[in-house]
């Protein structure tokens, strides 16, 4: 395929459309309609429980951090608060953008707005970017949410465990959105009717950050920023760690989520922070199944999927060598074995469009 161009205006974007890739139908494992209806059924209970627990823990950890400030004894509480602020907000943003976490729409919207602010994403823009990510997952030049581009810039990848690049990108974007609305790239996937909303959201977020900054200056203390803003840096590591596993080292430009997504079995704390998005093949194949039903969906379709990684560490042991290999061989990707019970990978389309999916080595 040669050097990839991830720009939303580049030749790869054009090729994905012209080749028919963007219009192709994705592979889905077979699930009886009655079972799928049960899995998709909405409920408020699990998400209310988890949200009360999440915000309750955030208040507790922040209160303990403030009480012990500026002693180093406050550090563990800030670290715990930071992970909930800077990482759990990613999964809450994600689930609520799908509208599946709660049955009640206003609850989804409220948690979505709060989580969008904490994870530093414009709630009006990112709803659309994520829709594109699901329609055209890891289509080069089309998916605006590709976390690991090929070849990977390792320094940037590692820096982002502290959220540095995300925040450096977010700040000028926020100011530009607040002043003039969506950027040129954002206008390719956000409908024009939504552009004023993008600007309003950015203005609200900017006002909150400026007020927090003003308070920090007025009190001559970084404490206000420890509560608002900085946790996006010091608490980002968990969502970056789990996020890289979603698609890292796997295929791009394919129409079978078993080839481009990874399911990883995780410990209960990470699953709470990540809201079960470790079942990532299942989520991409059936995005309307709420997070709390994904373990059941996994049990139903696992015989049609590659075996999941059994831990985060095992996932990294699989992914990391593949990412490193892509530094020298950009077209390389991991093609995991399917169990004998699974249907073959959907590769017919790629045989029809030569070069869209090079063979794994």
């Amino acid at each position: 395929m040669g050097k990839r161009d991830y720009s939303l205006f580049g030749p790869d974007a054009k090729r994905a459309v012209e080749s028919g890739l963007t219009a192709a139908e994705w592979y889905h494992s077979e699930v009886p309609r009655k079972v799928m209806k049960e899995l998709m059924t909405r409920s408020d209970g699990p998400a209310i429980r988890d949200t009360v627990l999440l915000y309750g823990l955030m208040v507790l950890f922040a209160a303990l951090g403030i009480a012990l400030w500026p002693s180093w004894w406050s550090a563990p509480f800030w670290l715990a608060y930071g992970v909930l602020y800077g990482s759990a907000s990613d999964s809450r943003w994600h689930e609520c953008s799908h509208g599946t976490a709660f049955r009640t729409p206003w609850m989804n919207d409220l948690v979505y707005q709060i989580a969008s602010f904490m994870i530093m994403r414009n709630s009006a823009t990112w709803r659309w970017s994520h829709a594109r990510h699901h329609s055209e997952t890891y289509f080069v030049g089309r998916d605006p949410e590709i976390a690991i581009m090929r070849p990977t810039e390792m320094a940037k990848l590692i820096l982002n465990f502290a959220g540095i690049l995300d925040v450096l990108k977010f700040i000028p974007n926020l100011v530009q959105n607040a002043l003039t609305g969506p950027t040129a790239a954002e206008r390719t996937f956000v409908p024009q009717a939504e552009w004023p909303k993008v600007q309003r959201v950015a203005q609200v977020h900017l006002c909150i950050y400026l007020a927090t900054l003003a308070l920090a200056v007025a009190t001559q203390s970084i404490l206000p920023l420890m509560i608002v803003g900085l946790p996006r840096l010091y608490g980002a590591w968990h969502h970056v760690m789990t996020g890289l596993l979603q698609h890292g080292g796997l295929a791009d430009n394919v129409i079978d989520h078993r080839l481009n997504s990874r399911t990883v079995l995780m410990n209960p704390i990470s699953r709470f922070i990540y809201w079960n998005m470790n079942y990532h093949v299942e989520h991409h194949m059936f995005p309307m199944v709420p997070y709390h039903a994904l373990p059941r969906l996994h049990e139903i379709i696992k015989d049609d999927l590659p075996a999941p990684n059994r831990s985060i560490a095992e996932g990294f042991r699989e992914m990391w060598p593949a990412i490193k290999r892509q530094l020298a061989h950009e077209d390389y990707f991991l093609k995991r074995d399917l169990p004998a019970t699974a249907k073959p990978y959907r590769e017919d389309f790629h045989q029809y469009v030569p070069g869209m999916m090079p063979a794994a080595e």
Binding site: A23, M40, G99, P105, A131, H134, S135, A193, M288
Partner: protein
């Protein structure tokens, strides 16, 4: 416009839908919570996705891909990313058969 025999009433569970293809077009036929039958275009207006894989909740059908929602009685788009209303079609029930006018 011709009436087309689309399916049997028992083919669709209450509060559910099925896909019906005819003459190169695709439709969605619903068995509403009011026990009446309804018909709309078969694909979401946001992207080219069959609604038949989606969820029916009361009088709303939700696209299985991006959670766009429509009132299947009127076709009104109710939730982003769906912005454009869904086309609806007249339905009648004769005996145990569901007919749509296309």
């Amino acid at each position: 416009m011709p009436w087309i025999d689309a399916c049997a009433t028992e083919d669709i569970d209450a509060e559910d839908l099925i896909r019906f293809d005819h003459g190169g077009a695709t439709y969605a036929i619903y068995h509403g919570v009011d026990s009446k039958f309804y018909a709309t275009a078969g694909k979401c207006t946001h992207e080219d996705v069959h609604l038949s894989g989606g969820l029916v909740m009361d009088y709303v059908v939700e696209c299985p891909k991006h959670n766009g929602q429509f009132d299947y009685r009127t076709g009104e788009a109710k939730r982003l990313p769906a912005c454009v209303n869904l086309k609806t079609f007249p339905v009648k029930v004769e005996g145990d058969r569901v007919w749509i006018e296309v």
